[in-house]
Amino acid sequence: MLRILDSERISLIQEYCLERFGINQEKLENYRWYIGSKNRIYIGPEELKRIKPESIGLCVFRLDKTPKPTTNFLQLFGRYITKNIIELDDNETINYCSGKDLNPERKLDVVPGFVMVRHKDRFLGCGHWNGSLIKNQIPKSRFCKINFL
């Protein structure tokens, strides 16, 4: 069951997006925000009046101790993200898209926490950086063997 998300938690997410990823608040303003089961947050169109929907819009976050961005969200808003980005090479990209965690040996200029993982200007999705490992956060249903990149 989806409910309208209260303005306090909308602000919390918008502040997190600005602080963590540098996304300007204006990019997230023209949406209706909903909360569903397991504290999943959606952005979408207005509610239907006479029919119960299966889902509305796009699942963009899950609220836990901190907001966890979804791969859907980072792929769609990737062009507005200015920090906490990890750039992958070809081999790392193939491994990441197949669901593997990565252990990059180079120095990364990112703060531990959720990051956007990128290959050139293609936004692969979400990862979690703990200082030594990029823990794969792509949903299992999206894992894919990449043959062309």
Binding site: Y31, I43, G44, P45, E46, L48, R50, I51, K52, P53, E54, S55, I56, G57, L58, C59, N72, Q75, L76, R79, T93, C97, H119, K120, D121, R122, F123, L124, G125, S141, R142, C144, K145, I146, N147, F148, L149
Partner: protein, 306 residues
């Protein structure tokens, strides 16, 4: 003879009488289709994405009648990074037609996609709307919602609400456009590998006709005056195309609108089949034959509620 060959032969025999050039029609039916796709402009700039793709597929060709349709020489674009990140959607060229004939009504409006799964046209329309307005994406089968939801997520669609209802019992909902891309015998997809499992019998056509009339009837009932209804199938069968439209316009205050796409060769709807005559207005419907544009077969009609 292999079962698939038998189906092809059956289709050629049944429909050769309707085409301008039976030899070319028969040749086209036997020729496999190349993979086609469109670019999802919700996830990036068309030119940039195309440039990336050309790094590994230099043979990509543009489609003269659709400025966002391309044909690839590769047959597994589904394993490309562009597909993974939702920058492209693999879709038959003919399947892209319904949204193209309603460009004038989709901007920032409410669209009810009555049989939405797996979401090809829903995501295409969402891209054309740039995620504005509202699409109600309905399907009657729970098993098909997974693919619909997966495609909406992958392509970054934020303006769609997914519903699970038999459309014939869908609550009355006002929309500017009703899209009825009806389940059909799918004969027009014969050029795709293993597209249909068997040759249909007369009773199968009757079953599809009943289902299609039920869906279109419901859309026409709930549509407010001035709204647009688009009906489409991927079959040759007049029982599922002109007959459905003919009976609907005889029973509802709707009119058939003239449609056309620059550069796409089409044929008018037929007015007689197997001894049955249809309303002359069905000539305004659009038929696409495989040998005319090197595509699948398709049928589409645009109606306006009076």
């Amino acid at each position: 003879m292999e079962p698939f060959q038998t189906i092809r032969q059956g289709i050629i025999e049944r429909y050769s009488v309707l085409v301008d050039n039976p030899t070319e029609f028969a040749e086209a039916i036997h020729k496999p289709l190349e993979q086609s796709f469109r670019i999802n402009t919700l996830k990036g700039d068309k030119e940039n994405i195309l440039e990336q793709l050309k790094n590994y597929d230099s043979e990509i060709t543009e489609v003269p009648w659709n400025d966002n349709a391309y044909v690839s020489q590769l047959n597994n674009l589904g394993s490309s990074l562009e597909h993974f990140v939702g920058q492209i959607y693999i879709q038959e060229l003919t399947s892209m037609i319904p949204p193209l004939i309603v460009k004038d009504v989709i901007d920032n409006n409410t669209i009810l996609d009555c049989c939405a799964a797996p979401g090809s046209k829903t995501t295409q329309i969402a891209g054309m709307m740039q995620n504005r307005g509202h699409i109600i994406a309905n399907d009657s089968r729970h098993a098909r919602l997974k693919s619909l939801r997966g495609n909406l997520d992958r392509l970054g669609v934020t303006n769609a609400t997914v519903t699970l209802r038999d459309f014939k019992s869908f609550p009355n909902t006002e929309a500017d456009l009703y899209l009825v891309d009806a389940p059909c015998s799918s004969e027009g997809t014969i050029r795709k590998k293993n597209a249909i499992a068997r040759m249909w019998k007369e009773k199968d056509y009757k079953r599809f006709t009943k289902l299609q009339k039920g869906l279109l009837n419901k859309a026409c009932e709930m549509a407010p005056s001035g709204s647009t209804i688009v009906y489409s199938t991927c079959t040759f069968s007049p029982e599922e195309n002109e007959r459905v439209i003919s009976e609907i316009i005889d029973n509802h205050p709707v009119k058939v609108e003239n449609i056309g796409i620059n550069g796409l060769k089409t044929s008018p709807g037929i007015t007689e089949w197997n001894g049955k005559r249809y309303n002359k207005e069905v000539e305004k419907c659009m038929r696409i034959w495989p040998h005319h544009n090197d595509t699948d077969a398709f049928f589409v009609a645009r109606l306006e509620k009076c």
